[in-house]
Amino acid sequence: MRKTFQAIFLLTLLIASGIQNSAALWGENQTYIADDNSYYKFSMVVESPLKWAENERSTVKVNVTLDQTPDNVSGLRILYIQFILQGNVNGNSATPVGSKFLTVNDELRILDKPVQYNTSISTPSLVNQFELNVTLAAIVTGNDTTQDISNPRFYRYIFPETLSKDSQQVQVFVDLYGFPPASFLLRWVTILLPITLIFISPNLLLISGIRKKREKKLEENEKEEETAGGEEE
């Protein structure tokens, strides 16, 4: 029985302390085909912390690996990466609540060697939970297959887990913020005071009545004493 209680107590403590997984998580590796003839293949994986600290910036890492090219001469030219945070605002689940535009303009040529791009994005303030949508704009470069740089292809990566805001207010159980401002309290007590006075007024009335009675009695006693003393003399 005692052990059960101890277990429940510990469990409650664990729940109360709100253990948080702040470690970053790699998403699933996804492979993309970059041209119509399947000569070019590359894969992308994104790393992000599951809990984003409130009012801070979190680092998002994108690893891009060139998997296959027709020959070593040509490669994959990454123009830019756009990070979009989507949250549920007013029932609209895909409303952008934050974004970052990362200009890369980098050409990958070596196979199987991952290239990492890092950026830091500030935590959205509007929502507590959000999705990470990473869009990569790239063209392939080769003698015959070079794509139009002004019209690149887009490769979308949706981070598989829903991210959540690590709200510091949730961690705190009790925060009384101190006493209400004096300007407010002054008026509040002034409102309360007449109500109190009205409520206890019957008692005040009685107390004053009793006091008057006593004074009257005392006066009478004094008079009686005076008259008695006069007679004795």
């Binding site: 207010q169 949730v170 961690q171 705190v172 159980f173 009790v174 925060d175 009384l176 913020y177 101190g178 006493f179 209400p180 401002p181 300007s183 407010f184 008026r187 509040w188 002034t190 409102i191 309360l192 109500i195 109190t196 009205i198 409520f199 206890i200 007024s201 019957p202 008692n203 009335l205 009685l206």
Partner: protein
Amino acid sequence: MTTIQIRRISAKINRYLSRFVFRTHTEYQNTRAKILAAKDLGLDQIECKIAETSRGTAIGFYSKNGWTNFLVFIPFAFLLGLPLLKSNNLLPSSLSGENSFVDITSLLGGDLNLNFLSISVLVLIPLIFSLMSYAMQQIRLSFIKSRFSFFTKDANWNPSELTPTMISFRGAQTAFFHGWLFAIVYFSVFAMPSYILSDVLALYQISQETLREGVNAGFLIVSGSLVGLVSADKSNKLRKEYSRQDKTLRFGSGIVLRRVEGILYSLSSALIAGIFFLPFISLTFVNSTSASLLVFHTSGYLIAAVIGGYIRDEGAISFVTAYGSMLLFLSLGLVFRTGAEPAFAFVVILQLLLIPFSLLLIANRGVENKFAEYKVKSIDYYYQFLPLNIFVTIYLLLSRKRKRQIQYEKSLEEDTILEDDEGQLYIDRSVIEGKSGELGILIAKHYFELMAWYNSSFDENQLVLIPTQKELISYVSERTGKQPSMEDFEFLSMADRLIWDITFSPEKEELAHTEKSGKKLVLELR
């Protein structure tokens, strides 16, 4: 001089009215008497007129002060009238607007919008309250009228009482105004000038909407239980006062059933209070709410009613303990939400400051004891933050006391007090006058007044012998409910010896002292 017939019938009506737990006051005139009976405090009264006519003694029962039942309309008139005045710019700037101390319209009525629905609800609530108390007055009067003939015939009769539901409405009325006061205290921040509101918002780091939501939630959680508790306790106390014949209150079938019955009755009275209070606050102070908060609010009524029913037979201390601890524990419950919702921090601090305020609820106990001295036992003013009735009652009690004194002093000036119905003197006046002068005559008058009172406590055709001192003393203590004092005995023995002992000649100081105590004794009886 009032005839013995009038005195005897008055005494009978006094006895009759006391069966209905009325407190009476009789005014005598030569051929008629007027009895004022008050059950509630001061305002609500029944008048009984007794007169000797050529065809016999006429008795009439009348209801007095019927209009006072409609006094409930006054606060609602303010509530509806102030916004009208404000919209026509008739309110002075010191009472409303940004430069005022507090905006009186939003302090009393929150965000009240005058439209057909709100006006009709705010007229309907006081209308139901006042019609209910008017109906109670009339029903009580008709009972008294119809049963009196049975009472005089010594037939078996049972004074019927008001239904418990009607009494619940009276309890709900107190709880309603109690809740209104709490709403004023909670939402007062929104009636203050905007710079104070922005101070509060800056301290708690919230927006005005969040603060309003938090205050709404805190108020709904707390007010349900407090209104329920006050309604349950007040209804139970009123029921004890009104329905002394109620068998469930007197016997019951064991402690368990009595408790269960009390709890069920409290539940009904708490829910009646909720029926009035919920539409009121949703029209005025609480402008947005969620289903879960309404569930909290309603379960507050239920939980508080169970507690109120359980402590039904306890005193005022347990009620205040229940009230204060409910505020404390609900605040403790809210404290652990303050981390997530800063507005609750504001609510919790206000609630903690209000806990000592609950001690005021027993402030009226002293007044109750004082009233017991005047033979008035009423609890209609319990838990009311504006006990108007008590002022009226104290005024009436004092004025009646003065009236009685004047009336008696007037009758002392006439010599007829020593005569019987046919104008024959009971005793030889010159003997007493010779022995002890004017003071002796006064003492004899007090003595015969006392005898007349004793005489009138018997039925019309009963022969009454001159009572012994012991019989007189026990009659007086029975009527006034006080232990006989040494002075009473001194007065009686002095009067006895003055009238019957020819050799007795007392000193002047002793006579003056005895005359005083005799007069006091007679005035207490009247």
